[in-house]
């Protein structure tokens, strides 16, 4: 295990971890705020990637795709929340799980119908397309871009959460939504907003991930499992948890997959299990209501 190896895989791990953060952030907030386990979150990621692919091919502009795909998926999120999820808020947890599970089935099939079953590749923008020299190794520039944009998004979210009124409402809502509603905030609108934003963020992650992972109809399941592990490890309802959990799992999975591919997922499970043994609510999670 040379230093070069550690650096390269470390960067890969951080990049993957930040992608997971983009997914986990939405998932965690949606659960923390609305008590909804959104099993369709991987589908938002996947739809973002595929819509981004088509948008990029149509407009020959990666950046436009990066803007359009999250917008489209965000609107879809609004429709799903208002049309379907709103009816299930008084129902037990399981009902929303089944609903989102069903939606994920539909999304997977729709993708197959519209884009076919073969693997697709989303090209990175030309400006980031080549390799660059990192401490003596050649490393794809695009992955550095992924890291940069991941950190940037994290910073923006952190600022919004800590420094704005909206962030305060969200944080309060995670802890006690009835109180927030009693204080006159339109909690229904906040829910729709949080859900749609989570979906858009996932889609954004999907487009960014496009050039790194490839697009295929099973990608939602693979990434959802990892995102769920991140949320469990980091703690529900906390962006900080999603961030550090994402990095932890991203780096762990990357190194394990390269070093011991046979048992990588098993060991990831062991890592998660160990963390839960010590902190049953995740690293940064609070006691659930």
């Amino acid at each position: 295990m040379t230093a070069d190896f550690v650096i390269v895989q470390g960067l890969n791990g951080v990049a993957y971890g930040l992608l997971l953060f983009l997914l986990a952030a939405g998932l965690s907030l949606i659960f923390g705020m609305m008590d909804v386990v959104n099993l369709a979150h991987g589908s938002f990621f996947m739809l973002g990637a595929y819509i981004g692919y088509s948008a990029a091919r149509a407009t020959h502009n990666f950046w436009l795709a990066l803007l359009l795909a999250p917008l489209a998926v965000g609107l879809l999120g609004v429709a799903v929340e208002i049309g379907l999820l709103k009816r299930l808020y008084r129902r037990p947890l399981l009902d929303q799980v089944i609903l989102t599970f069903g939606l994920s089935f539909m999304a997977a099939e729709l993708v197959k119908i519209i884009w076919g079953s073969s693997e697709l590749v989303l090209q990175p923008p030309d400006v980031f397309a080549g390799p660059v020299d990192v401490v003596g190794n050649t490393y794809p520039v695009y992955r550095l871009f992924v890291i940069t944009i991941g950190v940037a998004v994290a910073l923006v979210l952190w600022l919004v959460e800590r420094r704005t009124r909206l962030g305060a409402i969200i944080r309060a809502g995670v802890v006690d939504r009835q109180m927030v509603a009693a204080l006159g905030v339109n909690i229904g609108a906040v829910f729709t907003g949080v859900f749609a934003f989570g979906a858009a963020l996932a889609a954004f992650g999907g487009v960014v991930a496009g050039p790194v992972l490839s697009l295929f109809p099973g990608m939602d399941a693979v990434v959802l499992i990892n995102a769920l592990i991140v949320v469990v490890v980091g703690g529900m309802g906390t962006l900080t948890g999603a961030f550090w959990g994402g990095l932890l799992i991203g780096v762990a999975v990357t190194f394990l997959t390269v070093l011991v591919p046979q048992v990588a997922l098993v060991l990831t499970f062991v890592v998660m299990a160990t963390i839960l043994l010590v902190r049953p609510n995740g690293l940064f999670g609070m006691k659930l209501r």
Binding site: V97, G102, F105, L228, I229, V232, Q262, A273
Partner: protein, 353 residues
């Protein structure tokens, strides 16, 4: 004394199923001679026994379909013990189906041992270990964390099956499982009608044992824990122990289903062990009606039939319709088949009253 204790059905109520007494016999004669089971359930055996002979010529696929429904019913009933009765939403139950199935397949294909009793023993042993490991870990958490831990467990086993090629056959699975032998190589049970009856016998035994379990003090305690765990602790129950027990029992029955599953399909692959099967099983339980034993059976039958019909009618598109069915079901028919039946009975009783 027992007569007055068993609730006469309040047919006007439409509450969601919470351990119904319908399955219990209404009079003491049946209770003594049928072990408490309602005679209607015993009568149900008759069509099940006649069925394969009746359809052998017109619809031979029917026997195969029925066998798979029975095998999966054992699996979903065991899941209902956790989900409906004990209130533990496990999304990783396929792990135990997989343990039983892979044990069977590995012994048959790699070691040449296709003895039914041996398969059962190994499966139960593995499931016991697995359920204790998962139980001790997952029961420290609750709600969503519990759900995810169980889910991750199943995925982990699936990944293990995928990667451990030399033993498990890797991604392609293990084909070539031979027919099960009952007491020696001379008495093997070939596919078709003989295997259907082996499966039927196992299903009947499992159903009866689970029926007794659910109405035993242990089973009622699980229901109490589901309703109000804090109160159960306050009246002296070590609830953690009970939940672990439920985990163990459910895991064992699931592994038995796994053994039957492997012998039936003569094949097993990692896809049968992971989240998709676990999630579908949850749906089958809810579709039929939780906290009942006949519910999962009905739900499994409904799902298998619907899935077969859809995939032959809409090759390629059927998952889309299936997903839509999940959504519609949750929104409008949440009580499942049993729930709908209860509502119809209630309306009729209120009309008569």
């Amino acid at each position: 004394m027992a007569e007055e204790l068993v609730a006469s059905r309040d047919l006007t109520s439409v509450s969601a199923p919470v351990s119904r007494d319908e399955e219990v016999a209404p009079n003491s004669f049946a209770r003594r001679w049928l072990g408490g089971l309602h005679p209607a359930y015993v009568l149900m055996l008759v069509p099940l026994i006649v069925f394969p002979f009746a359809v052998a010529d017109i619809f031979p696929f029917g026997v195969s379909l029925a066998t798979s429904i029975l095998v999966l019913s054992i699996f979903t009933m065991s899941l209902d013990l956790l989900l409906g009765y004990a209130g533990l939403p496990s999304f990783g139950h396929a792990a135990f189906l997989g343990l039983g199935a892979y044990a069977t397949a590995i012994f048959s294909v790699r070691l040449g041992i296709s003895n039914f009793a041996v398969s059962l023993l190994v499966a139960v042993a593995l499931a016991s270990v697995g359920s204790m490991v998962l139980g001790l870990l997952a029961l420290r958490t609750s709600g969503v964390y519990f759900l995810m831990l169980t889910l991750a467990f199943a995925q982990m086993l699936s990944a293990l099956a995928e990667k451990w090629g030399p033993v498990t056959g890797g991604t392609n699975g293990l084909p070539g499982v031979k027919a099960p032998e009952l007491f020696g190589p001379t008495l093997s049970v070939p596919r078709g009608i003989p295997y259907y009856f082996l499966t039927l016998a196992c299903t009947v035994v499992c159903f009866f044992v689970m029926f007794r379990l659910v109405h035993s003090p242990f089973g009622r305690s699980l229901i109490g824990i589901h309703q109000n765990e804090a109160r159960m602790r306050a009246i002296g129950y070590n609830t953690r122990l009970y939940k672990l027990g439920a985990f163990w029992v459910a895991g064992v029955f699931a592994s038995i289903a796994g053994v039957l599953y492997a012998y039936f399909n003569q094949f097993i692959s990692p896809g049968d062990v992971g989240f998709a099967v676990s999630g579908t099983a949850v749906l089958m339980v809810l579709l039929g009606g939780e906290a009942t034993l006949i519910g999962p059976v009905l739900g499994t039958a409904a799902y298998v039939v619907i899935q077969n019909v859809l995939s032959s009618m809409f090759t390629g598109r059927w998952q889309l319709i299936l997903g839509a069915l999940f959504v519609v079901f949750v929104l409008f028919a949440r009580g499942g088949i049993v729930g709908v039946w209860v509502r119809i009975q209630a309306r009729r009783a209120r009309g008569a009253a």
